[in-house]
């Protein structure tokens, strides 16, 4: 499986309510039963990881290869932010039913399309 995610104009930062548009592509010698595009958030930092899937779009019987467009509305929360102890990040990933490697593209969803940086408290 050679999966791909392409965002329109290479944009990877969005404000809540903006639309993430682009296309997914795949090419495989196997024929996966389905492909799923997920828009999800996850945490990174000192503690254990939390993950939440906001949007799933499943394409059943996609065939050996192909391309589909997507148009997803950026959720209003949680917002992309980073501090010393934790970062909340958003990403798009394409997963296939045949357990093959997935492709993931990190994006920012925050006011002004800029990740909020949490300050240091003295």
């Amino acid at each position: 499986m050679i999966p791909g995610i392409t965002l329109t104009d290479g944009l990877t930062a969005f404000a809540p309510g903006d639309y993430l548009t682009g296309s997914i592509s795949w090419s495989s010698s196997e024929r996966p039963a389905w492909l799923e595009l997920r828009l999800f958030w996850y945490t990174e930092g000192k503690g254990t990881q939390d993950i939440g899937v906001a949007i799933r779009e499943r394409f059943t019987d996609p065939g050996h290869h192909g391309e589909k467009t997507f148009n997803l509305k950026a959720p209003s929360h949680p917002l992309s932010c980073s501090g010393r102890l934790v970062s909340i990040r958003w990403a798009l990933e394409l997963v296939s039913s045949d357990d093959q490697p997935v492709v993931k593209v990190d994006v920012v969803i925050a006011p002004g399309a800029r990740e909020t940086v949490l300050g240091h408290v003295e």
Partner: protein
């Protein structure tokens, strides 16, 4: 201040570390496990990689068609027999019962579990002390192992790594060989460093 997503010691990178065992070591380990009717316990102190190795053994058995049922017993957890029965019910000869924290399981519950699981394919456990099952692997840590891990994690992070070995020696002594605790301390060390931006 370094952002969490940039910290080389963030949890996701620590959890992605693989247990250091070469091909011959893996073969010996799995041969010994099979010879003991797939029963064995990984013994070692806190933060010595028991859970990491347990998960890697599970993955290897899964890849060979085993079904894995895991039970993680935390400090202060109160277990009832019904919870252990859920683990055993329907388990067959290709089922591995995986118990993290065997030493936290009371004696009577362990006897009942061992008896009820006689026909189950395998039991793999982690424990701070030997006993109950044949020791499959005895975990040991060292400051040099910690240093090796830290150099790997820092490989794509800055050029000044001269401090690593001495700091690893200090942390290893302070945390009594608990590598995981050392790596958490290093998260704070690195996170507090001023950044260029």
């Amino acid at each position: 201040m370094l952002l969490a997503r940039e910290n080389p010691f963030r949890m996701q990178r620590i959890e992605a570390l693989r247990y250091r065992l070469d091909a011959a070591g893996w073969q010996q380990l799995l041969t010994r496990f099979a010879a003991n009717r797939w029963r064995g316990v990984l013994v070692g102190p806190h933060g010595s990689g028991k859970t990491t190795l347990r998960e890697e053994i599970e993955a290897r058995l899964r890849a060979n068609g085993w079904q894995v049922r895991a039970l993680v017993i935390g400090d202060g957890d109160v277990l009832r027999w019904s919870m252990l029965m859920d683990l055993i019910t329907g388990a067959g000869e290709r089922t591995l019962l995986s118990i993290d924290g065997l030493d936290r399981l009371g004696t009577v519950l362990w006897w009942r579990l061992r008896r009820a699981a006689r026909e189950v394919g395998g039991i793999l456990a982690t424990s701070h002390v030997p006993g109950r099952l044949p020791t499959l692997h005895h975990h040991q840590t060292s400051a040099s192992l910690l240093s090796e891990l830290v150099h790997g994690l820092m490989a794509d992070h800055g050029d000044d790594h001269a401090w690593i070995d001495q700091r690893c020696d200090e942390l290893f002594a302070r945390h009594h060989g608990d590598v995981r605790a050392c790596l958490r301390s290093l998260y704070d060390d690195v996170g507090d460093q001023p950044t260029a931006s």
